[in-house]
């Protein structure tokens, strides 16, 4: 069950190097309102068996950034530059033919809504078999056997019967399992999950996360997990990349970013989350949530300087409004993975989120306007 799929048309190598290396990815989309700079210089690496979470709110460019990697954006409107090496091979300069070969066995993808990504008129089995046979010389019977096996692996009860079901006969959680089975059918080195559990209930979400973690441990798959849910990130990610306005504003290990956030946006986002464990303050009164005032910038109209400054409650440096802050190391360090942030904020020492909460609370009385 482990090991790369061998196919006659060019095996996708797997080795000890990083699974995916993205360097200075830029995506521009032509829209009626002008050119939207949706992704502006994104760089990250995904190692074997590693999970990198890409976090951001709607419009941050997180989804577009992975669609661009796999050539899934309409070429008419999208301009993609930079480099994206999957096992050392650049996805962005690949021929469309080669990209198609790579998509299954090289990189599998799971989307938010399994109902729209599954074909409603084909049985689950047909769709799995199709994927398996498209990338290797497998007989129909073998492919079907493999499909049943896969459905069992992703935890579908009675896979022998489930294989002949249509997508609408399955529940949302089951459909998402089928999507994962399809994504894993060619044992890809990389799995990209785009808000894969957002539409699911928490109990089902827990099942899916457990499943992905288990499969990842067995196969050493690299995972890019795109989500807006910082709770999910805390559970699943090794490393986190926070996106805002198409830029990476902070990255580092999951502990660094979530427990010792540096960038005012990351701090604001964490402060805005209600706490399940202990909502009441020391005085027994539940305090107001910290909020980030205002709304994210439109990608057609990004502010100069730091992308976050128009909403930033702690901006102080004159460069905030004019000069784009570089992503510099603020923690981590020798031997450990670096913790980086892009901010002119004077206080770059990683601090506990709770200390920042108060800053935000004080800076935005009456929760501003959204």
């Amino acid at each position: 069950m482990s090991g790369p799929a061998s196919s006659g048309t060019g095996p996708v190598p797997s080795g000890t190097g990083p699974v995916l290396e993205v360097e200075d990815l830029q995506v521009d989309l032509r829209t009626p309102r002008g050119t939207a700079h949706v992704v502006n210089g994104l760089s990250y690496t995904v190692g074997h068996g590693e999970t990198v979470a890409v976090v951001g709110e709607s419009g941050s460019g997180k989804s577009v950034s992975v669609l661009a990697l796999l050539g899934l954006l309409p070429a008419r409107v999208a301009t993609v530059t930079g480099r994206a090496l999957l096992h050392g091979e650049d996805l962005l300069t690949m021929s469309p033919e080669r990209l198609r070969q790579v998509r299954g066995p090289g990189a599998g993808m799971v989307f938010q809504d399994p109902m729209t990504s599954l074909n409603p008129v084909l049985t689950v089995g047909r769709q799995l078999v199709e994927g398996i046979r498209a990338h290797g010389e497998v007989s129909k019977a073998d492919a079907r056997r493999r499909a049943v096996e896969l459905l069992g692996e992703v935890g579908l009860p009675d896979p022998g019967r489930a294989v002949d079901r249509y997508p609408h006969e399955l529940s949302g959680g089951m459909r998402q399992r089928v999507m994962i089975a399809i994504a894993l059918s060619n044992s890809p080195g990389l799995l990209i999950a785009d808000e894969a559990t957002t539409a699911l209930d928490v109990t089902v979400q827990a099942q899916i996360i457990d499943l992905v973690e288990k499969l990842q441990a067995e196969r050493g798959t690299g995972v890019v997990w795109i989500t807006h849910d910082l709770g999910v990130v805390a559970g699943i990610a090794d490393r986190v990349l926070v996106m805002y306005g198409g830029r990476c504003v902070e990255d580092g290990t999951v502990d660094d970013v979530l427990e010792r956030p540096v960038h005012p946006y990351t701090r604001g986002l964490l402060g805005a989350l209600p706490d399940l464990a202990a909502p009441a303050g020391p005085d027994g009164v539940v305090p107001d949530l910290a909020t980030v005032p205002g709304v994210p910038p439109a990608p057609t109209d990004l502010p100069p300087g730091c992308v976050f400054w128009p909403r930033c409650p702690v901006r102080s440096d004159p460069r905030c409004e004019t000069e784009q802050p570089p992503l510099v190391q603020v923690g981590g360090g020798p031997g450990a993975l670096p913790h980086r942030a892009a901010t002119w904020c004077e206080d770059r020492t990683p601090g506990a989120a709770s200390a920042v909460d108060r800053t935000f609370g004080a800076a935005s009385p009456g929760e501003g306007g959204s």
């Binding site: 709110e57 709607s58 009860p157 529940s171 949302g172 959680g173 089951m174 209930d201 928490v202 109990t203 089902v204 979400q205 827990a206 099942q207 996360i209 457990d210 807006h228 849910d229 910082l230 709770g231 999910v232 990130v233 805390a234 559970g235 990610a237 999951v254 502990d255 979530l258 427990e259 604001g268 986002l269 964490l270 402060g271 805005a272 989350l273 209600p274 706490d275 399940l276 464990a277 909502p279 009441a280 539940v286 107001d288 949530l289 910290a290 909020t291 980030v292 005032p293 709304v295 994210p296 009456g366 929760e367 501003g368 306007g369 959204s370």
Partner: protein, 344 residues
Amino acid sequence: MTEDVLVSARGLEVHFPIRSGGALRRTSGVLRAVDGVDLDILRGETLGLVGESGCGKSTLGNALLRLVPPTGGTVTFDGTDVTSLDRRGLKEMRRRAGMVFQDPFASLDPRRTVAQTVSEPLEVHGLRSGGRERAARVAELLELVGLDPAVAGRYPHEFSGGQRQRVGIARALAGEPDFLVCDEAIASLDVSVQAQVLNLLRRLQRQLGLTLLFISHDLSAVRHIADRIAVMYLGRVVEVGPADAVGSDPQMPYTQALLSAVPVPHPELERSRKRIVLRGDVPSPAAVPSGCRFRTRCPYAFEPCPDVDPALQPVGAPGQLAACHLHGVVGRPVDSGEPVAARD
């Protein structure tokens, strides 16, 4: 319970007939969206109603305001039976009970300005006669929800999701209601905007002395805003109690599983804690299991569960109720229908 109850449901049922197509429209089954709910909402409190998709929490919220007609049981609002209100009584009840909807992009009429939307309750109920007085009231309401009154002449498509939700809240408050139902009111908003709306709702609740029913699948948000929490599963309230008790010491296995499944943004905590991963999916509300409806997924299911439909009974903290045989078999046996008291 002698406390001041504003809204109360007793044995509330909303069953939808499942129609097989065709001109004859035969009824082929019953979807038990809400299936025997007992619930009290106290005056001035915020009650959080949580549950997974399809558990009937939205239908319950709608049924309390008779926006969906109940098919059984009763709802009382401030002492009056809502299910038997005539047209006039219903209209007055709807003035006194507002509703905020999930999707702020769908809940505002795209062809009407903010002012027209917010002043609709004023017109409907004949409050503030005259255009100028209504305009003043609209301005007051917009300020109340943190919007610039100057936006009154604009159309919904000119606003962000958070701003639209504020307009929706202003509309719900226009009739000076006592009771506000928020049906997944923050679910379609971005995290940072969710916090803004949660804070706003809390402020309004305090400021106007509202009674709030906050329906959400987001346990963290409910825990943050609610004084008491009710948990729904498959059309039934299975646990209810003070937020602290239900949130930190749940007595019903379903609530325990639900709480354990909520991811929290603390990696250390996430790594160390043990999730209760439930088996399988929620059964269809068209085929509710006999006895305890949670038994098919319950890790503790035992002998009486399929035979006795458990009733809510006091367990744990004061005011906490849970429907579970682990705390003594109390409920209605499936076959005889005679209620049984605790056996052990």
